[in-house]
Subunit: 234 residues, 2 copies
């Protein structure tokens, strides 16, 4: 049993609380039985840690576990995971332009998986994908999706030759009800406060909007969900 | 200009950071120009405060403003607001059974208003409605909705004689696609981790579900949004 916080392995794990080290090592931590199970199913686990004796897990003391974890609640399992390899693009793509809130990002990933938008492109400068709050609110979707992270959208979007590319706009655009099913589609969601950036708006010419009553806009994770749900059910 | 944090008015405002005082006084604070504007439009403002000289606002110093506000970012306006009077129930009702996350609650209110579920019933034991994060994420919907707060659902729900009452369930129920338009409808959303409580489930006999691909469930604010969107567009 590892009971020292100075154990070199444990020190490496704790370093992963910082985005810098996650990037350097291409690894990240997930906390809690549910997420560890999802990580195992996705073959993403490098090493798993538990405060209980479980075959295949490294046993650690409770104080060490508390040190490894970022959540305040008591967690009994943690896994060191490797970042997914990139797969070919799926027919439905979601593109995220500068999403900043970890809860929004995680929720968007969870919804994208549920509605078969199996590839998600995340722009440079977005909220860190491996932030613990993103991982928790993604509810395991982070392991099931094909995620391209830290992407320069201005150079990436023009490479999507055979995709219909739609922005989202609270004022102008085609009602999502009137969008037809495409062979391949890419839908862009923008920043919480400012929407899609001007540079990106300039290179796309189609926009989707959702009719609202007496409210200016929806939360980005809500708007994205309704668009994906409506599209996938066409 | 009020420049002392010991000014009795300011001390009263700061007390409103605690839920207990909001309940006692039936008042709450909103921060930021956007929300203060919404509060004025809803005739909810008792007194408004600003660090700039604006007619009708009480002038306060920047340090006093920082003390009044809960957000870390610099806010120039704050308003003391009265809690809405209750109006007759609308034809579309949303019932929230033990929602705990402030971001979820605020987002649900914002979406309810956008999709014409103009009355929202919030159960006893839910996240505090006048929590600053709820107010911010509601984006002003808190002023536009008819909200019945702190309600004992077990005694309230049976009074909804002329409403069709639907629960939500991740496994069993009628696909939201197949729900027909009702004259009056009440839709219940449950707790983030556990869904609708057993006691409530026992007194309702209809459930809605949303078909998902390879994910167990959606975030409650997402599920609620899709249900309301789909229903209102029938």
């Amino acid at each position: 049993m590892i009971s020292s916080k100075d154990n070199p392995k444990i020190k490496e794990l704790i370093k992963l609380h910082q985005a810098k080290y996650r990037k350097e090592t291409n690894t990240f931590l997930v906390e809690g039985k549910h997420l560890v199970k999802e990580a195992f199913e996705a073959n993403a686990v490098i090493e798993a840690y538990s405060i209980d004796e479980i075959p295949g897990y490294t046993l650690v003391s409770l104080p060490v576990m508390k040190k490894i974890c970022k959540t305040d609640t008591v967690v009994t399992e943690v896994a060191l995971c490797k970042i997914n390899e990139i797969k070919p693009l799926s027919d439905n793509i979601l593109i995220l332009d500068n999403i900043q809130d970890p809860g929004n990002l995680g929720t968007i990933l969870r919804t994208a998986k549920a509605f078969k938008f199996d590839t998600v492109i995340i722009s440079k400068g977005s909220c860190d994908l491996y932030n613990d709050k993103v991982i928790r609110s993604s509810q395991g979707a982070i392991f099931k999706l094909n995620i391209l992270n830290n992407i320069d959208l201005l150079s990436f979007i023009p490479t999507l030759n055979d995709y219909e590319i739609y922005g989202t706009n609270v004022r102008n655009g085609t009602d999502i009800k009137d969008i037809k099913k495409e062979k391949k589609i890419a839908i862009i969601l923008g920043n919480e406060g400012n929407g899609i950036s001007k540079e990106i708006s300039n290179i796309i010419d189609k926009n989707i909007y959702i009719k609202l009553d007496n409210m200016e806009s929806l939360n980005v994770s809500i708007a994205g969900a309704i668009i994906m749900y409506e599209y996938i059910n066409k």
